[in-house]
C-alpha cells in the first residue's frame, strides 16, 4: 500500500503549549482513496488532519514535530510556501462556512486568488465544473448570483466542497463534514465523496462508524493521541487487531 501512498507521516508529535496532543504518529495515506480517521473525542483526529495542510500554523501555541511528506516533499521544510501547500491540500470544515458572497463568488474565490482561469468564460466553466462535481449545479444554476449563505445546510456544505475542489487540489481534507447535516444531506455528501475519489485523495474525520464503513477504503483508529491501528476499512471493522479498536467500534469506549 505504501507504494501508492501520496501522504506519508512519520514520528509526528504535536504539542499545544506543554500538552502533547499527538504522539509518534506514523500513517501512510494512499492516493485516490478515501481514508477515514476515527476515534473518541479529543484523541487528536482534527489535530492530525490540520497538520496535513498546516492549518495548525494558525494556532500560536501549536508545535508540530516529525516528518510529513506529500508526494515525497517535506511540507514542513523551510522553503515550503504554506499558501501554495494549501492550494494543493484543500479543506472542508465541520460547519458549512460559505462566504457571505454570491454562490458564484464563493466558488470563484479560490481560482481567482490563484489565477486559475483566464477570462470570464473560463471562470464560468470552472465554476460550473466544480458545482457539477459537488452535485449542486442543478439546484443552483439559476441563482448563481444569490448569497451562498441562503442555501440549506446540506447545500452549503456541498458549496464548500465545490469551493474547495475549484482550486483543483490533490488532497481534500474533511473534518466531520456531515456532523451538522440531516441523514438525507449526509447521504448525498457520502455519495459525492465516493465520486470525488476518482480525482482526489480524500482524508475524512468522522464520528460515525457507519459513515467510515460506507465511504472509506482505509481507516485509521486514534486513541489518546496515538495511532492505534490502521488498515483496510473492512479489516478494521470486521477483525481489528487491537482490543481498544474492538472496544471503540463496538461502542464500549468513546
Amino acid at each position: 500500500m505504501s507504494k501508492t501512498a501520496i501522504i506519508t507521516a512519520k514520528d509526528v508529535d504535536v504539542f499545544y503549549g506543554d500538552k502533547q496532543a499527538l504522539d509518534k504518529i506514523a500513517l501512510d495515506i494512499p492516493e485516490y482513496k478515501v481514508t477515514s480517521l476515527i476515534g473518541p473525542s479529543g484523541c487528536g483526529k482534527s489535530t492530525f488532519l490540520r497538520c496535513i495542510n498546516r492549518m495548525n500554523d494558525l494556532v500560536p501555541i501549536a508545535r508540530v514535530e516529525g516528518d510529513i511528506r506529500i508526494a515525497g516533499q517535506d511540507i514542513y521544510a523551510p522553503e515550503v510556501d504554506v499558501v501554495a501547500l494549501r492550494a494543493q491540500v484543500g479543506m472542508v470544515f465541520q460547519k458549512p462556512n460559505p462566504f457571505p458572497k454570491s454562490i458564484y463568488e464563493n466558488v470563484a474565490y479560490g481560482p481567482k486568488i490563484h489565477g486559475l482561469a483566464k477570462g470570464k468564460t473560463e471562470m464560468d466553466e470552472l465554476v460550473q465544473w466544480a458545482l457539477e462535481k459537488a452535485g449542486l449545479w442543478n439546484e443552483v444554476k439559476d441563482r448563481l448570483d444569490q448569497p451562498g449563505t441562503g442555501l440549506s445546510g446540506g447545500q452549503q456544505q456541498r458549496l464548500c466542497i465545490a469551493r474547495t475542489i475549484a482550486v483543483k487540489p490533490k488532497v481534500v481534507l474533511m473534518d466531520e463534514p456531515c456532523s451538522a447535516l440531516d441523514p438525507i444531506a449526509t447521504a448525498i455528501i457520502e455519495e459525492l465523496i465516493d465520486e470525488l475519489r476518482q480525482n482526489f485523495t480524500i482524508v475524512i474525520v468522522t464520528h460515525s462508524m457507519q459513515q467510515a464503513a460506507r465511504v472509506s477504503q482505509r481507516t485509521a483508529f486514534f486513541h489518546l493521541g496515538t495511532l492505534v491501528e490502521t488498515g483496510p476499512t473492512k479489516n478494521i471493522f470486521t477483525s481489528p487487531e487491537d482490543e481498544r479498536t474492538q472496544n471503540y467500534i463496538t461502542g464500549r469506549i468513546g
Binding site: 492549518m55 494549501r86 492550494a87 484543500g90 470544515f93 462566504f99 457571505p100 486568488i113 464548500c160 474547495t164
Partner: protein, 323 residues
Amino acid sequence: MATVDTNTPHDALDLVNSQRKKGVEFVVMAILILCSLVAVLVTVGIVLSLIFEAYRFFERIPMTEFLFGTQWSPQTALRADQVAAEGAFGAVPLITGTLLISFIAMCVATPLGLMSAIYLSEYASKRFRDFVKPALEILAGIPTVVYGFFAALTVAPLLRSGGESVGLNVSSESALAAGLIMGMMIIPLISSLSDDVINSVPQAMRDASLGLGATHSETIRKVVLPSAIPGVAGALLLAASRAIGETMIVVMAAGLAANLTANPLEAVTTITAQIVALLTGDQEFDSAKTLSAFALGLLLFVVTLCLNIIALRIVRKYQEQYD
C-alpha cells in the same frame, strides 16, 4: 416496582407563605421604575424646551431665513434698551463650518482608526494588543478641553508658522487645526468600534479563506473587510455624529467668525461654538439672539439623532448577520 405508589401520604408543598416577599418585590420594582423615569423625563423635558424655545425663535425669524440665510451676525446688544436691527440669523455658515471641520476630522480619523483596528485585530501580537488597547482607551478619556487647548496653543501656531514658511496665509484660528485635533480625538472611537466589528467576523470565514490558500492580507481584503464594512460604516457614522456635536475643541481652536468658506486655513465657526458664544455672559431670555441658541440646539439635536439612529440600525443589522 412496576407501578407508582400514590397512597402513602406526603408533606404538603409550602406554596402560600410567600406573602412577605411580595411587599419587598413591589418596593424594589417601584424604585427601579422611578430611577429610569428620571432619565426619561429629563430627556423629554430637554427636547420639549428645545422645541418650545425654538418655536418662539421662529416666530420672530422665519425658518427659511434661519436654514438658508448666509449671514450670521446675531446682534450684540450692549444695553437692554438699545434700539438696533435684529441682526442676521442665517445658519448656513455655521452648518458649513461644522461640516468642514467634521469632514477634516473624519479624513484624519477614518484611515488612522481603521488601519490601527486592522493591525490590532489581525496582526498585533497579544502582548502588543494588551498594551495598545488600554492606551487607546486613555486617549478616549482625555477631556476635550485638553484637546482644545492643545489645538489652540500648539497645533494652530505650528500650522501658522508652517504655512508662512511656504507662503500660505493661515489664520491663527483655523478649521484645519480644529479638524486635525478633533480627528485625533475620535480615532479611539473608530478604532475600538471597528476592532470589535472585525473581531466579530467569524473565525470560520478566515479559516475558509486561508484553507483555500489565500494569504493573510488577501483574506483581510477579500473576506474580513467586506464582511465588516456595514459595521465599520456604523462606527464611522457614530464618530461623525460625535465630531459634529463636539464643542470645546472648536470653541478654542476654530474661532467665532462666521465665514462662509471651504478653505480649511481660514477661521470658521460651528453650531456648537456659536451656542456657547450666544449663551455665555448675561442673558436676556427674550431676545432673538438668546432664542437662536435654542434653534441651533434643535438643529444639532436633529442631525446627530438621525446619524445615531442610522448608525445603530446599521450596526445592529450587521450583528444579526452572524447570530
